[in-house]
């Protein structure tokens, strides 16, 4: 009886650990989910695979105004009234590419799960 109870306890612990491991490592399918952030705060999360038609999102900050264009599988900065408009010149957000950033308005648009490949990217 004593041995049997230890076996049950052992199996219980193994199952518990396996459950924890699966919970921690199970990949969630968010490949097309894009986050729009302003001042480090999440403004909106969009699953590009679920978008039908076109949608425009306007973000107003202290220094300028951005208009984001969202369509099926695509997101880009349509317009910005800051002088350099680097975020507009960036073009559509692409997997593996750099996030769309508007520095004057502190806006970042990026894939929520962009962990494929390298840990970091350096560029000039």
């Amino acid at each position: 009886m004593k041995n049997r109870s230890w076996i049950i306890i052992f199996l219980f612990v193994i199952l518990l650990c396996a459950g924890c491991w699966l919970y921690i490592t199970y990949p969630d399918s968010r490949e097309e989910v894009v986050g729009i952030y302003q001042n480090g705060e999440l403004v909106e999360k969009i699953d590009l695979s679920c978008v039908t038609g076109q949608k425009k999102i306007t973000l107003t900050g202290k220094n300028c105004k951005n208009t984001i264009l969202v369509s099926a599988g695509n997101i880009e900065m349509e317009s910005a009234d800051c002088p350099d408009r680097l975020c507009v010149k960036h073009g559509p957000l692409e997997r593996g590419g750099t996030p769309i950033v508007c520095l004057p308005n502190k806006v970042v648009i990026k894939f929520e799960d962009d962990s494929g490949g390298a840990d970091a990217r350096t560029g000039g």
Partner: protein, 336 residues
């Protein structure tokens, strides 16, 4: 009943074990705006949240000293009044900048600020091509001889202004990394607008993989470096640039000519233990061009390693990167 009791005790023990394992792997990420760019810090360990917040505060503190855009910064006060009693950090960074200036024979020059300004590479100013007369005028106040440092006193000549943007991120990365280490972090990754610094290895013990952006397509990479405990900084003319009359003008100015550097390179990546040096050198080597950069490396191979992409798309790496650089493209190892 006894079995149930044992199960409960073991459940609590297992839960405690899981929690401690999770704690070892606990990760904290922060993304924030500073130094006119987006920065991210990722750290692992039980104290990662507090450590990352301290590192972020340190970067913001240094940004408030070094920013050329913030009217209240020490550097703006220096540019305005031409004389200040500098804080220890500003003094240390000005001296580091001077070291890189000397090492690179003036290719890295913080007094190039008036040139960068007339080309419109500051927030709130439109990019434009200045006239040759304007450039010649701006060049008169460029050069380290226009800065005088005596003790903590720093003075600039009448029309000289400084911009620490080419080295401040490196200095700040080192300071932030130091804070993370002091707070017990052994594994962290800092990306200060493309200036990458890694502390230790990844939590699984493997090296960090840092991709170098393809200058012709920012969704692609030209290669990857597997590194630990090092800084990786890239300078290139492909992200901040403008077009006028069909010609592209980028933001890295040659302090000798007053025009965007044209040394025949698309991108230079510097790998070093010294963050500020890596930052300053990446700009300087881009300005110098490949042959001069190779010559500088051969005399200072203990200080840094490099990856160079030429205008003809040839890729060159320094010899000590052979085992840590991987690429799908052909590349050549520099002979020294």
């Amino acid at each position: 009943m006894r079995l149930l009791q044992k199960c409960c005790v073991l459940f609590l023990l297992a839960a405690a074990l899981c929690c401690s394992a999770c704690d070892l792997d606990s990760r904290y990420d922060s993304e924030f705006f500073a130094m006119d760019t987006v920065m991210t810090i990722t750290a692992y360990g039980s104290k990662s949240e507090d450590a990352v917040k301290s590192a972020e505060n340190e970067i913001n503190r240094l940004d408030a000293l070094f920013s050329v855009q913030n009217e209240d910064s020490e550097i703006c006060k220096l540019n305005r009044s031409k004389s200040i009693t500098a804080s220890p950090d500003t003094l240390a960074l000005l001296k580091r900048a001077n070291e890189v200036y000397t090492l690179t024979d003036g290719a890295f020059d913080i007094t190039a600020e008036p040139i960068t300004r007339i080309w419109g590479f500051y927030s709130g100013i439109e990019n434009r091509v200045p006239s040759p007369q304007e450039i010649a005028g701006a060049l008169k106040s460029v050069g380290a001889e226009h800065i005088k440092i005596s003790g903590r006193s720093v003075a600039l000549d009448k029309n000289t202004s400084v911009d620490l943007g080419g080295i401040a991120k490196g200095y700040s990365a080192a300071a932030a990394a130091q804070i993370l280490r002091e707070e017990g972090i052994d594994s962290a990754l800092l990306s200060l607008g493309g200036n990458v610094r890694v502390i230790g290895s990844k939590p699984d013990g493997s090296d960090w993989n840092v991709a170098i952006t393809d200058p012709d397509d920012n969704t692609k990479e030209i290669g990857t470096l597997a590194i630990s405990n090092a800084a990786v900084v890239t300078s290139g003319g492909y992200q901040r640039c403008f077009e006028e009359n069909g010609k592209i003008y980028h933001h890295i100015m040659d302090p000798d000519t007053g025009y965007p550097a044209s040394g025949g390179l698309k991108s230079v990546t510097v790998i070093s233990r010294d963050d500020a040096l890596a930052d300053g050198l990446s700009t300087a080597l881009f300005v110098m061009g490949f042959e001069k950069a190779r010559s500088l490396y051969s005399e200072n191979s203990a200080l840094f390693e490099g990856v160079f992409i030429t205008d003809e798309d040839d890729i060159y790496i320094t010899p000590n990167l052979k085992d840590i650089f991987s690429s799908q493209h052909n590349y050549e190892v520099i002979e020294i």
